[in-house]
């Protein structure tokens, strides 16, 4: 018994500073003017994603992801990004395809949930090209929550006693009231957060339907936020149902109108995932040469996301995926507000 109590000295690197004063200074100078932020995905990525930035992708890997931004990051050959990998599946697969990142906070990577593992992402991670620090899904959500709260850390009761602890950058602390040993999770302030939503106005006020995943936290902790939206609406539409609002305008830097912007991922209430195409990704990844041709066809060889959608069958394929979507909006009786508590 107790022959191998894991070390409590974490060896993982902290990729982002949890310095709240620095973050407050940044947020202090961020403009509050309600200006038109509508732009193309290409412009949003050139202006707000820089080589070396630390990126957080909203949604859940293959559900409500900002695919168009991820493709554009690959197409613009952004390099040396940092990445927050909370259940990163298809989003991770896309960025790994472009070899866009060299450091990663790991909670769930390489895997594709029930769709298996990504062969290319595995090769990339096993090559030693990416520095990794280990966390868990709750830890990454709470790290962004600490940042959203403007606090340098949040205590939590996970990870303790495991090898995740050893390879994380977390620390242990003693509760000043109870003496309880706790994990201290450092605040995570990503340079850029990218989030796909159901509706937004041109100023950045945005709303989503269905589960919020970690997007309240990602949206509020990120220094710059790129929103892609299925539907562009008037601000009055946002005001009709404010309980659904994810972020108000002054947190948002860019709004891009991208219909089917989560494709081939699922967009709740809009369209289901394209399982055939997701399988095509995994199949193409088996062989590096085949995969290069696949990427040339679908990402490097097209000038924008719309052309990719056209290659995949355009409106007629999207209509099929809309039919497969199990969630329907009840216009008479609005959906309950996103968020809420247990």
């Amino acid at each position: 018994m107790n022959e191998q109590v894991p070390s409590l000295t974490p060896q993982g690197e902290l990729f982002c500073s949890p310095d709240v004063e620095e973050a407050r200074s940044f947020f202090r100078q961020k403009p509050r003017t309600m200006t038109n932020k509508l732009m193309s995905v290409s412009e949003a990525v050139s202006r707000f994603v820089h080589d070396g930035d630390y990126l957080a992708s909203g949604g859940f890997g293959g559900v409500r992801i900002a695919s168009s931004v991820l493709h554009e990051i690959v197409r613009q050959r952004k390099k040396n990004l940092g990445l927050s990998g909370h259940t990163a599946t298809h989003d991770f697969q896309i960025l790994a395809a472009g070899r866009c990142f060299n450091r990663c906070d790991v909670a769930y990577i390489v895997g594709l949930e029930m769709r298996g593992l990504s062969p290319n992402a595995r090769r990339y991670m096993e090559s030693g090209a990416v520095k990794m620090t280990e966390w868990s899904n709750a830890a990454l959500a709470w790290r962004c929550k600490a940042a959203s709260m403007g606090l340098p850390f949040l205590p939590a009761r996970v990870i303790l006693g495991t090898d995740i602890m050893k390879h994380s950058a977390a620390k242990t602390i003693e509760c000043p009231f109870t003496g309880q040993k706790l994990l201290a999770l450092p605040a995570l302030y990503p340079d850029v957060g990218i989030i796909h939503v159901h509706r937004a106005d041109i100023f950045g006020n945005c709303q989503l339907d269905g589960i919020t995943i970690a997007d309240y936290e990602v949206g509020r902790s990120s220094k710059r936020v790129i929103i892609t939206t299925e539907h562009l609406v008037d601000t009055d539409e946002i005001r009709k149902d404010p309980l659904k609002t994810l972020l108000p305008f002054w947190l948002v830097d860019a709004v891009c109108h991208v219909r089917y912007g989560s494709y081939p991922g699922n967009m709740p209430y809009e369209y289901f995932s394209d399982e055939e195409h997701l399988a095509e990704w995994v199949q193409a990844e088996q062989d590096p040469n085949t995969f290069q041709k696949f990427l040339d066809k679908y990402i490097y060889g097209v000038s924008n996301f719309k052309e990719y959608l056209e290659l995949k069958g355009g409106e007629s394929r999207m209509a099929e995926l809309r039919k497969l979507e199990p969630l329907r909006r009840n216009e008479e009786r609005p959906m309950p507000a996103s968020g809420g508590s247990l």
Partner: protein, 263 residues
């Protein structure tokens, strides 16, 4: 996967046995694949009021189709609450979630799980696996952890290559000493060979019943650590025709989990 007879395959056996471990009117955060098939089957049999939560934010949906992701639309149909990861994990941390149900690449005698890597050098893994996802969080915070996994020596190991998700760590009291919530931890393991629980004194894995046709020797042969056995060892009851019908026709009609052989 080989079948014991022609009536059901081993995936079907595991899912049916797993479903029977979940009591009615409990709360459970469930992962995709076999754990979810088991929870859905439990709702259709002995546990109609089992509350299923998904770590991505859906709470108490009426599941119609087997979700592919713990966030996809099929997790959200007719839910009582659509929230976020923080809300669900915080419910676990507060002590309101009874079960979690996980898979894993390797498991040791204290129920610790590895889902991070195969190999001994962290910086150069032989195989990089996904990592914790929400598994570490759920096994730290939910009252009872169930695991479902095929049974062989590569999976039931003496020493994990990486301890991703805590079981009883190094034995009695180790979780509490590490700072994890008191009084929770591994509860059951459902494998292709047996149903296992944990010895209350030593916190070591212990076989509670052998699946039909499986011998004690077979379990020993396929386990990399010293397995404990109950003195009087019953046979796991076979899946009933009713369970198999529900599983094949309502829970997993596409054979995503139980395979095409099940139909």
């Amino acid at each position: 996967m080989k079948s014991n007879n022609n009536r059901y395959n081993l995936m079907e056996l595991m899912v049916c046995v797993a479903a029977r471990q979940l009591e009615d009117s409990r709360t459970a955060v469930i992962g995709t694949g076999m754990p979810l098939a088991a929870a859905m089957l439990a709702q259709k049999t002995a546990a109609p009021n089992l509350v299923i939560l998904f770590e991505a934010g859906s709470v108490a949906p009426k599941l119609r189709r087997l979700p592919i992701s713990v966030a996809d639309s099929n997790t959200q149909t007719d839910a009582l609450l659509l929230s976020g990861m923080d809300i669900v994990f915080e419910a676990c941390q507060r002590g309101t979630v009874d079960y979690t149900f996980l898979g894993g690449a390797q498991i040791d005698m204290y129920g610790n799980i590895n889902s991070s890597m195969i190999g001994t050098d962290y910086d150069h893994p032989k195989v990089r696996l996904p990592g914790s996802g929400g598994a570490n969080d759920l096994a730290c915070l939910c009252w009872m952890t169930l695991v479902i996994t095929p049974h062989d020596k590569r999976r039931f190991v003496k020493k994990l290559d990486f301890l991703t998700t805590p079981g009883y760590l190094t034995g009695p009291g180790a979780r509490e000493r590490a700072g994890l919530p008191a009084g929770c931890g591994p509860y059951k393991v459902i494998s292709t060979l047996a149903l296992m629980g944990y010895d209350p004194e030593s916190k070591r894995m212990r076989v509670e019943s052998l699946h039909p046709g499986v011998t004690k020797e077979e379990v020993i042969e396929n386990t990399g650590f010293e397995m404990l056995f109950l003195d009087a060892l019953p046979e796991t009851p076979e899946p009933t025709d009713h369970e198999l019908k529900l599983l094949r026709e309502e829970v997993d009609p596409l054979g995503l989990v139980i395979g095409k052989a099940g139909q």
